[in-house]
Protein backbone atom coordinates (compact mmCIF):
# COMPACT_ATOMS: atom_id res chain seq x y z
CA UNK A 1 0.00 0.00 0.00
CA UNK A 2 1.36 3.31 -0.94
CA UNK A 3 0.87 6.10 1.49
CA UNK A 4 -2.04 8.15 0.45
CA UNK A 5 -1.05 11.53 -0.81
CA UNK A 6 -3.59 13.41 -2.75
CA UNK A 7 -1.30 15.90 -4.30
CA UNK A 8 0.36 16.37 -7.59
CA UNK A 9 3.50 14.58 -8.50
CA UNK A 10 6.45 16.33 -6.87
CA UNK A 11 7.39 18.30 -9.93
CA UNK A 12 3.93 19.87 -10.02
CA UNK A 13 3.78 20.34 -6.31
CA UNK A 14 6.23 23.12 -6.78
CA UNK A 15 3.53 25.77 -6.55
CA UNK A 16 2.32 24.94 -3.10
CA UNK A 17 4.38 27.56 -1.36
CA UNK A 18 4.12 30.13 -4.07
CA UNK A 19 1.06 32.07 -3.02
CA UNK A 20 3.00 32.86 0.10
CA UNK A 21 6.04 33.72 -1.91
CA UNK A 22 4.54 36.92 -3.18
CA UNK A 23 3.09 38.86 -0.30
CA UNK A 24 1.87 41.68 -2.49
CA UNK A 25 -0.09 39.32 -4.67
CA UNK A 26 -1.56 37.79 -1.56
CA UNK A 27 -2.80 41.13 -0.28
CA UNK A 28 -4.30 41.96 -3.66
CA UNK A 29 -6.10 38.63 -3.68
CA UNK A 30 -7.34 39.09 -0.15
CA UNK A 31 -8.64 42.57 -0.89
CA UNK A 32 -10.33 41.36 -4.06
CA UNK A 33 -11.90 38.47 -2.20
CA UNK A 34 -13.19 40.75 0.52
CA UNK A 35 -14.69 43.15 -1.99
CA UNK A 36 -16.30 40.24 -3.81
CA UNK A 37 -17.76 38.93 -0.57
CA UNK A 38 -19.17 42.34 0.31
CA UNK A 39 -20.57 42.95 -3.15
CA UNK A 40 -21.99 39.47 -3.70
CA UNK A 41 -25.57 40.07 -2.48
CA UNK A 42 -26.00 42.89 -4.95
CA UNK A 43 -25.44 40.57 -7.84
CA UNK A 44 -26.83 37.36 -6.45
CA UNK A 45 -30.08 36.84 -4.57
CA UNK A 46 -28.95 37.32 -0.93
CA UNK A 47 -29.98 33.90 0.42
CA UNK A 48 -28.12 32.32 -2.49
CA UNK A 49 -25.12 34.51 -1.73
CA UNK A 50 -25.25 33.28 1.85
CA UNK A 51 -25.32 29.68 0.61
CA UNK A 52 -22.25 30.36 -1.49
CA UNK A 53 -20.20 31.75 1.37
CA UNK A 54 -21.35 29.10 3.85
CA UNK A 55 -20.58 26.29 1.44
CA UNK A 56 -17.28 27.93 0.60
CA UNK A 57 -16.27 27.67 4.25
CA UNK A 58 -17.50 24.07 4.25
CA UNK A 59 -15.31 23.29 1.25
CA UNK A 60 -12.34 25.07 2.80
CA UNK A 61 -12.77 23.13 6.03
CA UNK A 62 -12.81 19.92 4.04
CA UNK A 63 -9.69 21.03 2.21
CA UNK A 64 -7.77 21.20 5.49
CA UNK A 65 -8.14 17.43 5.52
CA UNK A 66 -8.15 16.66 1.83
CA UNK A 67 -5.58 19.10 0.57
CA UNK A 68 -3.32 19.59 3.57
CA UNK A 69 -3.49 16.28 5.43
CA UNK A 70 -4.20 13.95 2.54
CA UNK A 71 -7.40 12.59 4.09
CA UNK A 72 -10.55 12.39 2.00
CA UNK A 73 -13.52 12.60 4.32
CA UNK A 74 -16.66 11.38 2.64
CA UNK A 75 -18.69 11.96 5.75
CA UNK A 76 -18.49 15.66 6.50
CA UNK A 77 -22.23 16.02 6.14
CA UNK A 78 -22.37 14.56 9.65
CA UNK A 79 -20.73 17.71 11.05
CA UNK A 80 -22.41 20.16 8.74
CA UNK A 81 -25.82 18.67 9.45
CA UNK A 82 -25.46 18.04 13.16
CA UNK A 83 -24.23 21.57 13.70
CA UNK A 84 -27.18 22.84 11.70
CA UNK A 85 -29.55 20.90 13.95
CA UNK A 86 -27.90 21.95 17.17
CA UNK A 87 -27.76 25.56 16.03
CA UNK A 88 -31.41 25.38 15.10
CA UNK A 89 -32.36 23.81 18.40
CA UNK A 90 -30.46 26.39 20.44
CA UNK A 91 -31.97 29.24 18.46
CA UNK A 92 -35.46 27.78 18.73
CA UNK A 93 -35.48 26.81 22.37
CA UNK A 94 -33.35 29.49 23.95
CA UNK A 95 -33.93 32.39 21.58
CA UNK A 96 -30.26 33.34 21.78
CA UNK A 97 -28.71 35.62 19.19
CA UNK A 98 -27.78 33.54 16.20
CA UNK A 99 -23.97 33.85 16.50
CA UNK A 100 -24.20 32.18 19.90
CA UNK A 101 -26.31 29.38 18.49
CA UNK A 102 -23.87 28.93 15.62
CA UNK A 103 -20.95 28.62 18.00
CA UNK A 104 -22.93 26.06 19.97
CA UNK A 105 -23.47 24.07 16.79
CA UNK A 106 -19.80 24.22 15.89
CA UNK A 107 -18.79 23.04 19.35
CA UNK A 108 -21.19 20.14 19.04
CA UNK A 109 -19.74 19.23 15.66
CA UNK A 110 -16.30 19.10 17.24
CA UNK A 111 -17.53 16.91 20.06
CA UNK A 112 -19.09 14.56 17.54
CA UNK A 113 -15.88 14.58 15.54
CA UNK A 114 -13.87 13.33 18.48
CA UNK A 115 -15.03 9.70 18.54
CA UNK A 116 -15.52 9.52 14.78
CA UNK A 117 -12.10 11.00 14.18
CA UNK A 118 -10.50 8.79 16.80
CA UNK A 119 -11.70 5.66 15.06
CA UNK A 120 -11.37 6.88 11.47
CA UNK A 121 -7.79 8.15 11.58
CA UNK A 122 -6.66 4.65 12.35
CA UNK A 123 -7.15 4.03 8.67
CA UNK A 124 -5.77 6.24 5.96
CA UNK A 125 -6.39 6.79 2.29
CA UNK A 126 -9.28 4.91 0.80
CA UNK A 127 -10.21 3.24 4.06
CA UNK A 128 -10.58 6.61 5.70
CA UNK A 129 -12.98 7.71 2.99
CA UNK A 130 -15.13 4.62 3.37
CA UNK A 131 -15.13 4.67 7.15
CA UNK A 132 -16.12 8.33 7.38
CA UNK A 133 -18.86 7.72 4.86
CA UNK A 134 -20.21 4.84 6.91
CA UNK A 135 -20.14 6.83 10.14
CA UNK A 136 -21.91 9.75 8.53
CA UNK A 137 -24.59 7.39 7.35
CA UNK A 138 -24.98 6.24 10.92
CA UNK A 139 -25.45 9.83 12.08
CA UNK A 140 -28.00 10.26 9.31
CA UNK A 141 -30.01 7.29 10.56
CA UNK A 142 -29.94 8.65 14.07
CA UNK A 143 -31.20 12.00 12.79
CA UNK A 144 -33.93 10.26 10.87
CA UNK A 145 -35.19 8.22 13.75
CA UNK A 146 -34.82 10.75 16.53
CA UNK A 147 -37.74 12.71 15.21
CA UNK A 148 -38.71 14.13 18.61
CA UNK A 149 -35.59 16.22 18.40
CA UNK A 150 -34.96 16.66 14.70
CA UNK A 151 -38.49 16.62 13.36
CA UNK A 152 -37.53 13.62 11.26
CA UNK A 153 -38.16 14.04 7.59
CA UNK A 154 -40.30 17.13 8.22
CA UNK A 155 -37.15 18.89 9.27
CA UNK A 156 -36.62 21.33 12.07
CA UNK A 157 -38.86 24.16 11.01
CA UNK A 158 -39.21 27.77 12.03
CA UNK A 159 -35.70 28.40 13.29
CA UNK A 160 -35.67 32.05 14.37
CA UNK A 161 -33.02 34.52 13.32
CA UNK A 162 -32.55 36.39 16.51
CA UNK A 163 -29.98 39.20 16.43
CA UNK A 164 -30.09 41.63 19.36
CA UNK A 165 -33.49 42.84 18.27
CA UNK A 166 -32.15 44.46 15.11
CA UNK A 167 -35.12 43.95 12.87
CA UNK A 168 -33.43 44.50 9.52
CA UNK A 169 -31.11 41.58 10.13
CA UNK A 170 -33.81 39.38 11.58
CA UNK A 171 -36.22 39.78 8.69
CA UNK A 172 -34.27 40.80 5.61
CA UNK A 173 -31.85 38.27 4.21
CA UNK A 174 -29.88 41.09 2.61
CA UNK A 175 -28.84 42.55 5.97
CA UNK A 176 -28.60 39.13 7.51
CA UNK A 177 -25.89 38.38 4.98
CA UNK A 178 -23.70 41.12 6.38
CA UNK A 179 -24.39 40.11 9.93
CA UNK A 180 -23.41 36.49 9.28
CA UNK A 181 -20.51 37.17 6.94
CA UNK A 182 -18.01 37.95 9.73
CA UNK A 183 -18.57 34.50 11.24
CA UNK A 184 -17.80 32.80 7.96
CA UNK A 185 -14.86 35.07 7.20
CA UNK A 186 -13.52 34.29 10.63
CA UNK A 187 -13.85 30.60 9.78
CA UNK A 188 -11.91 31.11 6.56
CA UNK A 189 -9.24 33.07 8.35
CA UNK A 190 -9.00 30.31 10.93
CA UNK A 191 -8.57 27.73 8.18
CA UNK A 192 -5.80 29.82 6.67
CA UNK A 193 -4.20 30.20 10.09
CA UNK A 194 -4.33 26.46 10.73
CA UNK A 195 -2.82 25.63 7.38
CA UNK A 196 -0.01 28.13 7.84
CA UNK A 197 0.86 27.24 11.40
CA UNK A 198 3.46 24.91 12.87
CA UNK A 199 0.59 22.46 13.10
CA UNK A 200 -0.21 22.94 9.43
CA UNK A 201 3.40 22.22 8.58
CA UNK A 202 3.13 18.90 10.38
CA UNK A 203 -0.09 18.14 8.51
CA UNK A 204 1.62 18.71 5.18
CA UNK A 205 4.44 16.44 6.23
CA UNK A 206 1.91 13.77 7.13
CA UNK A 207 0.26 14.20 3.77
CA UNK A 208 3.56 13.93 1.95
CA UNK A 209 5.02 11.09 3.95
CA UNK A 210 3.41 9.87 7.13
CA UNK A 211 5.97 7.21 8.10
CA UNK A 212 8.71 9.81 7.85
CA UNK A 213 6.76 12.15 10.09
CA UNK A 214 6.48 9.37 12.63
CA UNK A 215 10.19 8.77 12.46
CA UNK A 216 10.63 12.44 13.35
CA UNK A 217 8.64 11.80 16.50
CA UNK A 218 5.25 13.09 15.44
CA UNK A 219 2.23 11.17 16.68
CA UNK A 220 0.59 11.09 13.30
CA UNK A 221 -2.76 9.75 14.45
CA UNK A 222 -3.12 12.49 17.04
CA UNK A 223 -2.33 15.18 14.50
CA UNK A 224 -4.82 13.71 12.08
CA UNK A 225 -7.44 13.54 14.80
CA UNK A 226 -6.89 17.16 15.82
CA UNK A 227 -7.07 18.23 12.18
CA UNK A 228 -10.27 16.25 11.85
CA UNK A 229 -11.84 17.92 14.86
CA UNK A 230 -10.76 21.41 13.74
CA UNK A 231 -12.12 20.77 10.28
CA UNK A 232 -15.38 19.55 11.79
CA UNK A 233 -15.58 22.71 13.91
CA UNK A 234 -15.20 25.01 10.92
CA UNK A 235 -17.67 22.86 9.02
CA UNK A 236 -19.99 23.33 11.96
CA UNK A 237 -19.67 27.12 11.81
CA UNK A 238 -20.72 26.99 8.17
CA UNK A 239 -23.55 24.55 8.81
CA UNK A 240 -24.90 26.66 11.64
CA UNK A 241 -25.00 29.84 9.56
CA UNK A 242 -26.64 27.86 6.77
CA UNK A 243 -29.36 26.67 9.14
CA UNK A 244 -30.06 30.18 10.45
CA UNK A 245 -30.03 31.60 6.95
CA UNK A 246 -32.66 29.14 5.76
CA UNK A 247 -34.70 29.22 8.92
CA UNK A 248 -34.99 25.47 8.99
CA UNK A 249 -32.92 22.30 8.87
CA UNK A 250 -33.71 19.33 6.68
CA UNK A 251 -32.35 15.82 6.86
CA UNK A 252 -30.62 16.26 3.51
CA UNK A 253 -27.96 18.23 5.40
CA UNK A 254 -26.92 14.94 6.99
CA UNK A 255 -27.20 12.88 3.83
CA UNK A 256 -24.14 11.45 2.10
CA UNK A 257 -24.96 13.37 -1.07
CA UNK A 258 -24.17 16.54 0.88
CA UNK A 259 -20.73 15.09 1.66
CA UNK A 260 -20.34 14.28 -2.02
CA UNK A 261 -21.37 17.77 -3.07
CA UNK A 262 -18.76 19.42 -0.91
CA UNK A 263 -16.05 17.06 -2.10
CA UNK A 264 -16.99 18.09 -5.61
CA UNK A 265 -16.72 21.76 -4.71
CA UNK A 266 -13.28 21.23 -3.25
CA UNK A 267 -12.01 19.15 -6.13
CA UNK A 268 -13.55 21.44 -8.72
CA UNK A 269 -12.00 24.50 -7.14
CA UNK A 270 -8.66 22.86 -6.57
CA UNK A 271 -7.40 20.64 -3.78
CA UNK A 272 -4.94 22.17 -1.37
CA UNK A 273 -5.57 25.76 -2.35
CA UNK A 274 -8.22 27.09 0.10
CA UNK A 275 -9.25 29.66 -2.51
CA UNK A 276 -10.43 26.75 -4.59
CA UNK A 277 -13.17 26.00 -2.10
CA UNK A 278 -14.64 29.44 -2.68
CA UNK A 279 -14.51 29.06 -6.44
CA UNK A 280 -15.96 25.56 -6.27
CA UNK A 281 -18.82 26.61 -3.99
CA UNK A 282 -19.64 29.58 -6.17
CA UNK A 283 -19.79 27.53 -9.36
CA UNK A 284 -21.77 24.68 -7.80
CA UNK A 285 -24.38 26.82 -6.08
CA UNK A 286 -24.87 29.04 -9.10
CA UNK A 287 -25.29 25.96 -11.28
CA UNK A 288 -27.96 24.44 -9.03
CA UNK A 289 -29.68 27.81 -8.80
CA UNK A 290 -29.65 28.23 -12.54
CA UNK A 291 -30.87 24.70 -13.25
CA UNK A 292 -33.84 25.12 -10.91
CA UNK A 293 -35.57 27.36 -13.38
CA UNK A 294 -33.81 26.38 -16.59
CA UNK A 295 -36.06 23.57 -17.72
CA UNK A 296 -33.12 21.16 -17.78
CA UNK A 297 -33.75 18.41 -15.31
CA UNK A 298 -31.01 16.10 -14.22
CA UNK A 299 -28.47 18.09 -12.26
CA UNK A 300 -26.58 14.92 -11.32
CA UNK A 301 -25.80 14.33 -14.97
CA UNK A 302 -23.86 17.60 -15.03
CA UNK A 303 -22.42 17.24 -11.53
CA UNK A 304 -21.25 13.71 -12.20
CA UNK A 305 -19.75 14.54 -15.57
CA UNK A 306 -17.93 17.52 -14.14
CA UNK A 307 -16.53 15.27 -11.45
CA UNK A 308 -15.28 12.74 -13.99
CA UNK A 309 -13.82 15.39 -16.27
CA UNK A 310 -12.08 17.30 -13.49
CA UNK A 311 -10.56 14.15 -12.07
CA UNK A 312 -9.43 12.94 -15.49
CA UNK A 313 -8.26 16.17 -17.03
CA UNK A 314 -8.00 19.05 -14.55
CA UNK A 315 -6.84 17.51 -11.34
CA UNK A 316 -5.58 20.88 -10.19
CA UNK A 317 -9.10 22.26 -10.27
CA UNK A 318 -10.06 25.72 -11.43
CA UNK A 319 -8.05 27.71 -8.93
CA UNK A 320 -5.16 25.30 -9.00
CA UNK A 321 -4.93 25.56 -12.77
CA UNK A 322 -5.03 29.32 -12.74
CA UNK A 323 -2.34 29.44 -10.10
CA UNK A 324 -0.22 26.92 -11.92
CA UNK A 325 -0.40 28.91 -15.15
CA UNK A 326 0.42 32.10 -13.32
CA UNK A 327 3.37 30.55 -11.56
CA UNK A 328 4.87 28.88 -14.58
CA UNK A 329 4.67 32.16 -16.46
CA UNK A 330 6.28 33.91 -13.55
CA UNK A 331 8.94 31.26 -13.25
CA UNK A 332 9.77 31.64 -16.91
CA UNK A 333 10.16 35.36 -16.49
CA UNK A 334 12.32 35.34 -13.40
CA UNK A 335 15.67 33.65 -13.36
CA UNK A 336 15.74 30.22 -11.91
CA UNK A 337 18.57 31.11 -9.52
CA UNK A 338 16.19 32.84 -7.16
CA UNK A 339 14.36 29.62 -6.56
CA UNK A 340 10.99 29.81 -4.95
CA UNK A 341 12.28 31.53 -1.87
CA UNK A 342 10.12 33.57 0.37
Amino acid sequence: MTQSVITQAPADGADVAVAASNPRLRWILLAAGLVAALALPWFVYPPVAMDIVALALFAIALDILLGYTGLLSFGHAAFWGSSAYVTGLIATHYGLPFPVAVIGGAVFAMILALPIGYVSVRRSGIYFAMVTLAFAQMVYFIGYQWSDLTGGENGLQGVPRSFFGIEAVETDSFYFYYAALPILLFGMWAAWRIVHSPFGRVLVSIRDNAPRARALGYEVDKYKAVAFVLSAGLTGLAGGVFAISHGFVALTELHWTTSGDVVLMTVLGGIGTLWGGIVGAFLTVMLADYLASSGFHGIDLITGSVFVLVVLLFRRGVWGTVRHQWNSRRRRRTTSGEGTGR
Partner: protein
Protein backbone atom coordinates in the same frame (compact mmCIF):
# COMPACT_ATOMS: atom_id res chain seq x y z
CA UNK B 1 -36.25 -22.05 17.72
CA UNK B 2 -37.55 -22.38 14.19
CA UNK B 3 -37.84 -18.60 14.13
CA UNK B 4 -34.13 -18.32 14.84
CA UNK B 5 -33.31 -20.72 12.02
CA UNK B 6 -35.62 -18.81 9.74
CA UNK B 7 -34.00 -15.47 10.58
CA UNK B 8 -30.60 -17.04 10.07
CA UNK B 9 -31.46 -18.34 6.62
CA UNK B 10 -33.09 -15.04 5.68
CA UNK B 11 -30.04 -13.20 6.93
CA UNK B 12 -27.73 -15.40 4.91
CA UNK B 13 -29.90 -14.91 1.84
CA UNK B 14 -29.74 -11.13 2.28
CA UNK B 15 -26.01 -11.50 2.89
CA UNK B 16 -25.65 -13.26 -0.46
CA UNK B 17 -26.07 -9.96 -2.27
CA UNK B 18 -23.41 -8.33 -0.13
CA UNK B 19 -21.09 -11.31 -0.45
CA UNK B 20 -21.23 -11.45 -4.24
CA UNK B 21 -20.84 -7.72 -4.69
CA UNK B 22 -18.13 -7.43 -2.02
CA UNK B 23 -16.22 -10.23 -3.69
CA UNK B 24 -16.18 -8.16 -6.87
CA UNK B 25 -15.14 -5.07 -4.93
CA UNK B 26 -12.32 -6.97 -3.21
CA UNK B 27 -10.91 -8.43 -6.41
CA UNK B 28 -10.94 -5.04 -8.11
CA UNK B 29 -9.26 -3.48 -5.13
CA UNK B 30 -6.70 -6.22 -4.92
CA UNK B 31 -5.52 -6.06 -8.48
CA UNK B 32 -6.10 -2.41 -9.34
CA UNK B 33 -5.91 -0.79 -5.92
CA UNK B 34 -9.16 0.96 -6.76
CA UNK B 35 -12.15 1.28 -4.47
CA UNK B 36 -14.98 1.24 -6.93
CA UNK B 37 -17.58 3.68 -5.64
CA UNK B 38 -19.76 2.81 -8.63
CA UNK B 39 -20.18 -0.76 -7.44
CA UNK B 40 -23.66 0.01 -6.19
CA UNK B 41 -24.51 1.56 -9.55
CA UNK B 42 -23.27 -1.57 -11.33
CA UNK B 43 -25.46 -3.67 -9.06
CA UNK B 44 -28.35 -1.41 -10.04
CA UNK B 45 -27.50 -1.72 -13.74
CA UNK B 46 -27.50 -5.50 -13.41
CA UNK B 47 -31.04 -5.41 -12.05
CA UNK B 48 -32.21 -2.85 -14.61
CA UNK B 49 -30.69 -4.87 -17.46
CA UNK B 50 -32.49 -7.96 -16.19
CA UNK B 51 -35.81 -6.14 -16.21
CA UNK B 52 -35.21 -4.59 -19.61
CA UNK B 53 -34.16 -7.90 -21.16
CA UNK B 54 -37.34 -9.53 -19.92
CA UNK B 55 -39.41 -6.69 -21.27
CA UNK B 56 -37.82 -6.39 -24.70
CA UNK B 57 -36.40 -9.81 -25.56
CA UNK B 58 -38.44 -11.92 -23.19
CA UNK B 59 -35.27 -13.28 -21.59
CA UNK B 60 -36.17 -15.06 -18.38
CA UNK B 61 -34.18 -14.99 -15.19
CA UNK B 62 -32.23 -18.11 -16.18
CA UNK B 63 -30.93 -16.42 -19.28
CA UNK B 64 -30.30 -13.19 -17.46
CA UNK B 65 -28.11 -14.99 -14.97
CA UNK B 66 -25.88 -15.85 -17.91
CA UNK B 67 -26.26 -12.89 -20.20
CA UNK B 68 -26.23 -9.96 -17.80
CA UNK B 69 -22.88 -10.77 -16.16
CA UNK B 70 -21.37 -11.04 -19.65
CA UNK B 71 -22.84 -7.68 -20.60
CA UNK B 72 -21.65 -6.15 -17.36
CA UNK B 73 -18.22 -7.62 -17.93
CA UNK B 74 -18.12 -5.84 -21.27
CA UNK B 75 -19.34 -2.63 -19.70
CA UNK B 76 -16.73 -2.93 -16.99
CA UNK B 77 -14.00 -3.39 -19.57
CA UNK B 78 -15.16 -0.27 -21.39
CA UNK B 79 -15.23 1.74 -18.18
CA UNK B 80 -11.76 0.53 -17.27
CA UNK B 81 -10.26 1.32 -20.66
CA UNK B 82 -12.02 4.63 -21.05
CA UNK B 83 -11.75 6.03 -17.54
CA UNK B 84 -10.23 4.05 -14.72
CA UNK B 85 -6.92 3.09 -16.29
CA UNK B 86 -5.80 6.68 -16.74
CA UNK B 87 -5.69 7.19 -13.01
CA UNK B 88 -4.15 3.91 -11.92
CA UNK B 89 -0.72 5.42 -11.46
CA UNK B 90 -2.02 8.21 -9.26
CA UNK B 91 -3.30 8.24 -5.74
CA UNK B 92 -6.16 5.73 -5.44
CA UNK B 93 -8.39 8.48 -4.11
CA UNK B 94 -8.66 9.88 -7.63
CA UNK B 95 -10.32 6.71 -8.84
CA UNK B 96 -12.64 6.83 -5.85
CA UNK B 97 -13.67 10.34 -6.92
CA UNK B 98 -13.95 9.28 -10.54
CA UNK B 99 -16.23 6.36 -9.78
CA UNK B 100 -18.26 8.59 -7.48
CA UNK B 101 -18.89 10.93 -10.40
CA UNK B 102 -19.63 7.95 -12.61
CA UNK B 103 -22.24 6.80 -10.09
CA UNK B 104 -24.07 10.11 -10.28
CA UNK B 105 -24.09 9.95 -14.07
CA UNK B 106 -25.25 6.32 -14.28
CA UNK B 107 -28.03 6.79 -11.74
CA UNK B 108 -29.26 9.93 -13.48
CA UNK B 109 -29.16 8.29 -16.92
CA UNK B 110 -31.26 5.37 -15.72
CA UNK B 111 -33.67 7.83 -14.13
CA UNK B 112 -34.00 9.78 -17.35
CA UNK B 113 -34.46 6.68 -19.47
CA UNK B 114 -36.57 4.43 -17.26
CA UNK B 115 -38.29 6.85 -14.93
CA UNK B 116 -38.22 7.15 -11.20
CA UNK B 117 -40.86 4.68 -10.08
CA UNK B 118 -38.84 1.66 -11.09
CA UNK B 119 -39.25 -1.22 -13.47
CA UNK B 120 -41.51 -4.26 -13.25
CA UNK B 121 -40.20 -7.77 -12.94
CA UNK B 122 -41.87 -11.11 -12.63
CA UNK B 123 -40.39 -14.15 -10.96
CA UNK B 124 -40.24 -17.23 -13.21
CA UNK B 125 -42.81 -19.87 -12.29
CA UNK B 126 -40.30 -22.47 -11.17
CA UNK B 127 -38.99 -20.25 -8.42
CA UNK B 128 -42.29 -19.12 -7.01
CA UNK B 129 -43.78 -20.70 -3.97
CA UNK B 130 -42.25 -21.87 -0.76
CA UNK B 131 -40.40 -24.80 0.68
CA UNK B 132 -41.03 -26.30 4.07
CA UNK B 133 -37.87 -27.50 5.79
CA UNK B 134 -39.26 -29.25 8.82
CA UNK B 135 -41.22 -26.32 10.14
CA UNK B 136 -39.12 -23.55 8.67
CA UNK B 137 -41.04 -22.15 5.73
CA UNK B 138 -39.02 -20.16 3.24
CA UNK B 139 -39.75 -18.60 -0.10
CA UNK B 140 -38.23 -20.90 -2.68
CA UNK B 141 -36.53 -17.96 -4.33
CA UNK B 142 -34.77 -16.92 -1.16
CA UNK B 143 -33.32 -20.39 -0.86
CA UNK B 144 -32.33 -20.29 -4.50
CA UNK B 145 -30.51 -16.99 -4.03
CA UNK B 146 -28.61 -18.39 -1.09
CA UNK B 147 -27.58 -21.63 -2.79
CA UNK B 148 -26.77 -19.94 -6.06
CA UNK B 149 -24.52 -17.33 -4.52
CA UNK B 150 -22.76 -19.85 -2.34
CA UNK B 151 -22.17 -21.88 -5.50
CA UNK B 152 -20.78 -18.81 -7.28
CA UNK B 153 -18.50 -18.02 -4.35
CA UNK B 154 -17.23 -21.61 -4.33
CA UNK B 155 -16.74 -21.51 -8.08
CA UNK B 156 -14.79 -18.26 -7.82
CA UNK B 157 -12.74 -19.83 -5.06
CA UNK B 158 -11.93 -22.83 -7.24
CA UNK B 159 -10.92 -20.57 -10.10
CA UNK B 160 -8.74 -18.59 -7.72
CA UNK B 161 -6.97 -21.64 -6.33
CA UNK B 162 -6.88 -24.04 -9.24
CA UNK B 163 -6.18 -21.95 -12.32
CA UNK B 164 -3.17 -19.96 -13.29
CA UNK B 165 -5.14 -16.77 -13.80
CA UNK B 166 -6.73 -17.28 -10.42
CA UNK B 167 -3.38 -17.72 -8.74
CA UNK B 168 -2.12 -14.53 -10.32
CA UNK B 169 -5.15 -12.58 -9.21
CA UNK B 170 -4.99 -14.03 -5.75
CA UNK B 171 -1.31 -13.35 -5.43
CA UNK B 172 -1.87 -9.78 -6.54
CA UNK B 173 -4.78 -9.33 -4.15
CA UNK B 174 -3.46 -10.97 -1.06
CA UNK B 175 0.31 -10.96 -1.38
CA UNK B 176 1.32 -8.12 -3.66
CA UNK B 177 4.92 -8.28 -2.48
CA UNK B 178 5.05 -11.96 -3.38
CA UNK B 179 3.54 -11.32 -6.80
CA UNK B 180 6.18 -8.71 -7.43
CA UNK B 181 8.94 -10.98 -6.20
CA UNK B 182 7.79 -13.75 -8.52
CA UNK B 183 7.90 -11.29 -11.36
CA UNK B 184 4.26 -11.81 -12.24
CA UNK B 185 3.06 -9.23 -14.65
CA UNK B 186 -0.31 -8.27 -13.30
CA UNK B 187 -0.67 -5.50 -15.85
CA UNK B 188 -2.46 -7.39 -18.56
CA UNK B 189 -4.99 -8.79 -16.12
CA UNK B 190 -6.07 -5.39 -14.88
CA UNK B 191 -8.81 -4.77 -17.43
CA UNK B 192 -10.41 -8.22 -17.35
CA UNK B 193 -10.30 -8.25 -13.56
CA UNK B 194 -12.15 -4.96 -13.40
CA UNK B 195 -14.72 -6.39 -15.79
CA UNK B 196 -14.97 -9.50 -13.66
CA UNK B 197 -15.63 -7.48 -10.50
CA UNK B 198 -18.28 -5.44 -12.28
CA UNK B 199 -19.85 -8.66 -13.56
CA UNK B 200 -20.15 -9.93 -9.99
CA UNK B 201 -21.92 -6.73 -8.93
CA UNK B 202 -24.17 -7.13 -11.95
CA UNK B 203 -24.88 -10.72 -10.99
CA UNK B 204 -25.97 -9.61 -7.54
CA UNK B 205 -28.25 -7.16 -9.35
CA UNK B 206 -29.78 -9.95 -11.45
CA UNK B 207 -30.53 -11.93 -8.32
CA UNK B 208 -32.08 -8.85 -6.71
CA UNK B 209 -34.40 -8.11 -9.63
CA UNK B 210 -37.27 -10.45 -8.75
CA UNK B 211 -37.13 -9.67 -5.08
CA UNK B 212 -36.38 -6.02 -4.76
CA UNK B 213 -37.45 -2.70 -6.18
CA UNK B 214 -35.62 -2.06 -9.43
CA UNK B 215 -35.03 1.66 -9.29
CA UNK B 216 -32.19 3.95 -10.27
CA UNK B 217 -31.43 4.59 -6.63
CA UNK B 218 -31.43 0.98 -5.47
CA UNK B 219 -27.64 0.82 -5.41
CA UNK B 220 -26.98 3.90 -3.30
CA UNK B 221 -27.63 2.59 0.15
CA UNK B 222 -26.38 -0.81 -0.95
CA UNK B 223 -22.99 0.67 -1.84
CA UNK B 224 -22.54 2.25 1.56
CA UNK B 225 -23.31 -0.99 3.37
CA UNK B 226 -20.96 -2.69 0.95
CA UNK B 227 -18.18 -0.39 2.10
CA UNK B 228 -18.86 -1.36 5.68
CA UNK B 229 -18.74 -5.01 4.58
CA UNK B 230 -15.31 -4.75 3.01
CA UNK B 231 -13.93 -2.73 5.91
CA UNK B 232 -15.16 -5.45 8.26
CA UNK B 233 -13.81 -8.26 6.10
CA UNK B 234 -10.55 -6.58 5.25
CA UNK B 235 -10.17 -5.09 1.81
CA UNK B 236 -7.20 -7.18 0.82
CA UNK B 237 -8.97 -10.45 1.47
CA UNK B 238 -11.19 -12.42 -0.87
CA UNK B 239 -12.43 -14.77 1.82
CA UNK B 240 -12.94 -11.81 4.14
CA UNK B 241 -15.27 -10.10 1.69
CA UNK B 242 -17.48 -13.16 1.36
CA UNK B 243 -17.55 -14.01 5.04
CA UNK B 244 -18.22 -10.40 6.04
CA UNK B 245 -20.99 -10.22 3.43
CA UNK B 246 -22.84 -13.11 5.00
CA UNK B 247 -22.02 -11.86 8.48
CA UNK B 248 -23.52 -8.45 7.79
CA UNK B 249 -26.60 -10.15 6.37
CA UNK B 250 -26.97 -12.08 9.60
CA UNK B 251 -26.42 -9.01 11.79
CA UNK B 252 -29.03 -7.19 9.75
CA UNK B 253 -31.59 -9.99 10.02
CA UNK B 254 -31.19 -10.56 13.73
CA UNK B 255 -31.04 -6.85 14.35
CA UNK B 256 -34.29 -6.42 12.46
CA UNK B 257 -35.87 -9.25 14.38
CA UNK B 258 -34.85 -8.24 17.88
CA UNK B 259 -33.88 -4.56 17.76
CA UNK B 260 -35.46 -3.14 14.61
CA UNK B 261 -34.75 0.47 15.47
CA UNK B 262 -31.04 -0.20 15.63
CA UNK B 263 -30.76 -2.74 12.83
CA UNK B 264 -29.01 -0.42 10.44
CA UNK B 265 -26.87 1.30 13.01
CA UNK B 266 -25.66 -2.10 14.25
CA UNK B 267 -23.72 -2.69 11.06
CA UNK B 268 -21.78 0.52 11.53
CA UNK B 269 -21.18 -0.21 15.19
CA UNK B 270 -19.80 -3.57 14.14
CA UNK B 271 -17.56 -1.78 11.66
CA UNK B 272 -16.29 0.63 14.32
CA UNK B 273 -15.52 -2.25 16.65
CA UNK B 274 -13.61 -4.10 13.99
CA UNK B 275 -11.54 -1.04 13.20
CA UNK B 276 -10.74 -0.54 16.85
CA UNK B 277 -9.77 -4.12 17.52
CA UNK B 278 -8.41 -5.26 14.16
CA UNK B 279 -7.78 -2.20 12.01
CA UNK B 280 -7.01 -4.31 8.95
CA UNK B 281 -10.35 -6.09 9.12
CA UNK B 282 -11.24 -9.59 10.23
CA UNK B 283 -9.30 -11.27 7.45
CA UNK B 284 -7.15 -8.38 6.36
CA UNK B 285 -3.46 -8.48 5.90
CA UNK B 286 -1.72 -6.43 8.55
CA UNK B 287 -0.38 -3.46 6.65
CA UNK B 288 3.09 -2.23 7.26
CA UNK B 289 2.65 0.50 9.81
CA UNK B 290 1.52 3.67 8.14
Amino acid sequence: MSAVVQYAVQGLAAGSFYALAALGLAVIFGVLGVVNFAHGAFYMLGAVATAVLLDTLDLTLWWSLLVVPVLMFGFGVVVELLLVQWLLRLDPLYNLLLTFGLTLVLVELVKQRYGVSGLPYRLPGGLQGRVDLSGVVLPRYQLFVLLFSVAVCVLVWLVMTRTRIGMIVRAATEKPELARALGINVGRWVTPVFGFGVALAGLAGVLAAPFRAITAEMGNNFAIILFAVVVIGGLGSIVGAVVAGFLVGLVEAFGQAYAPTFAQILIFVLMALVILIRPAGLFGRQEATT
